[in-house]
Amino acid sequence: MAKVKGDVIIDIDVCKGCLLCVDVCPTKTLAPGTKVNQKGYIYVVKVNDDCTGCTNCSTICPDAAITVYREKINK
Amino acid sequence: MLEEIIIAGFGGQGVLSMGQILCYSGIMENKEVSWMPSYGPEMRGGTANCITIISDEKISSPIIAKFDTVIALNQPSVDKFENAVKPNGVFLYDSTNVIKPPTRTDIKIYKLEASNEALKMKNTKILNMIMLGAFLKIRPIIKLENIIAGLKKVLPERYHNLLPLNEQALKKGMELVN
């Protein structure tokens, strides 16, 4: 059975911490971080490896801050 | 040569085109010309007039208050412009419907039963050509053949069948001046 494995890379300089991505992430991979970027926003961070690369986060992200990868893994 | 003219009458009597024909013809004789209409609502249905200047030299003001010639086609124009004629100037008017004629004695007054003549020729639209013919007889500033050529320019092509009638009217106007 084919399984998908995904990953997200967050551009922390562009992220404004609006948390819309956190709201739509089905695997709770994204969460509010604790650090502040140069613009003063608390940016979002990745908190688990369950990402499926569904792109919900990158689609809703107003600032195009999220790059998404997805790979099919044959088991 | 410098001839400063005002042509005045009701809208629709062809006063504006009279001035234009003079200008077109003037250009054909290499003269300087200027035509300034009264414009706007008063043109429609009310009174209309145009100042027409024909000159051998560059024309300064297109707006003037005193004229070598006044051509008046109705009573209001007679009233309004009688005093605008320069001393010894020409006052030419259609007397058909004028009950109060001009009274100045220091100008040359010519009256024409032009509207009646136009009726006799079965086309009231040629009133202006009768008047123009009369003017050219009094002040031969432009050759008749050039006036006819100018007429061709002013008259839209669909009316060019009326050119002979207009020419007839010009000649009639010339005849009527004594």
């Binding site: - | 234009q20 200008c23 077109y24 003037g26 250009i27 300087e32 010309v33 200027s34 035509w35 300034m36 209409p37 414009y39 706007g40 609502p41 024309i59 300064s60 003001s61 297109p62 707006i63 003037i64 208050a65 005193k66 320019k153």
Partner: protein
């Protein structure tokens, strides 16, 4: 010699626009200049493919000029006083974004809805900016139909030379009257695309932005300085003025546009009475020929300024004369046009009769 025609001023503007190779006209009807749009609607598209659009308002028209002018095309609009007032906001933007375009104001008497008869009462609006902010239009004031024709062509050239809006300031008489004009030959519409034009960003250049906004005051000031430097350049290069018989004159009549011709006739009346009158006629009212006035200021007994307004150019005349000679003014307002006799009589009264 070009083609000779008897033309109304408004039609002549339209014909000249077509022949100058204009790409587009956006306008809205208003007396006394509606013939421009009418003439173009009849003639332009079939002859050169020029775009003609009747906008829903003067506000829309000037913004269409902004958009189309921003693509580097030769674009114009025409209107009359109230319509030009509506365009002021757009003009300020156009001047700031440095979009070349040609405007014609066929001035009528104001203020407000005023009259449809001729006026010159938009002089200050035309020459001192008109809209908000520090900007200038280059303003040409023709006094004949021939100049109306020639200035359309020149106006486009100047607009592109300086990337600045050019205004032809004329009036209802010049719009409505007919004169003999010699028309220049058809200039083909240009295919050249200026480097700044917004035409779609090709891969090999930076994107082009046309804007009048800069939220950083330091940069906005820099842009203003650039604009001011341009205006100084225009002042250096583009002053046009006509002088007639000024050498040895007793008095100088001064006037722009239509009234300058009335003054020329009045000067002839003066000559018959043995008074020597010179004429100074600014052809560009911005930039204004101050130095021409300065040149004669201490040589004549006085200046007589005649306008169809309450004395708008008078302020500039005073700046030229700098108190070195008396200046008297005669103005008609609200659509009234002075006659040559009137001008001469008022001159006589004010300078020779001692009655003020």
């Amino acid at each position: 010699m070009g083609e000779l025609k008897l033309m109304k001023g408004n039609e002549a503007i339209a014909e000249a626009a077509i022949r100058a190779g204009a790409d587009a006209y956006f306008g809205y009807p208003i007396t006394p200049q509606s013939e421009v749009l009418e003439y173009l609607a009849n003639e332009a598209e079939k002859r050169t493919g020029m775009v003609i659009l009747q906008a829903e308002s003067e506000v829309a028209a000037i913004n269409m000029v902004y958009g189309a002018g921003g693509t580097g095309k030769k674009v114009m609009t025409t209107s009359s006083s109230p319509g030009i007032s509506l365009m002021q906001e757009g003009l300020s933007y156009i001047a700031c974004a440095e979009i070349p375009c040609l405007l014609v104001n066929v001035v009528r008497g104001g203020p407000g809805l005023g009259t449809i008869q001729p006026g010159q009462s938009d002089y200050l609006q035309a020459t001192k900016g008109g809209g908000h902010g520090d900007y200038k239009l280059l303003v040409l004031a023709p006094n004949s139909i021939q100049e109306m024709v020639d200035f359309v062509k020149e106006g486009f050239d100047l607009a592109f030379k300086y990337r600045n809006p050019v205004l032809i300031l004329t009036d209802g008489v010049l719009g409505q009257m007919m004169e003999k004009v010699e028309l220049f030959d058809q200039i083909p519409r240009s295919k050249e695309i200026p480097s700044w034009a917004t035409v779609g960003k090709p891969p090999n250049r930076e994107r082009n932005i046309l804007t009048s906004l800069n939220l950083q005051p330091e940069l906005m000031e820099k842009h203003n300085e650039h604009l001011q430097a341009k205006y100084r350049e225009i002042e250096k290069n583009e002053i046009r003025v006509e002088t007639i018989n000024c050498e040895g004159a007793d008095y100088i009549f001064t006037s722009f546009g239509l009234t300058s011709r009335i003054c020329i006739k009045a000067a002839q009346l003066a000559k018959e009475k043995g008074i020597k009158i010179g004429i100074i006629r600014p052809i560009t009212v911005y930039p204004f020929p101050y130095e021409t006035y300065a040149k004669y200021a201490d040589k004549v007994k006085g200046f007589f300024d005649v306008e169809m307004n309450a004395g708008q150019m008078l302020e500039d005349v005073k700046l030229g004369v700098l108190g070195k000679a008396p200046i008297k003014f005669h103005g008609r307002m609200g659509g009234m046009v002075p006659t040559p006799d009137e001008v001469f009589h008022v001159f006589e009264e004010k300078f020779l009769g001692g009655k003020e």
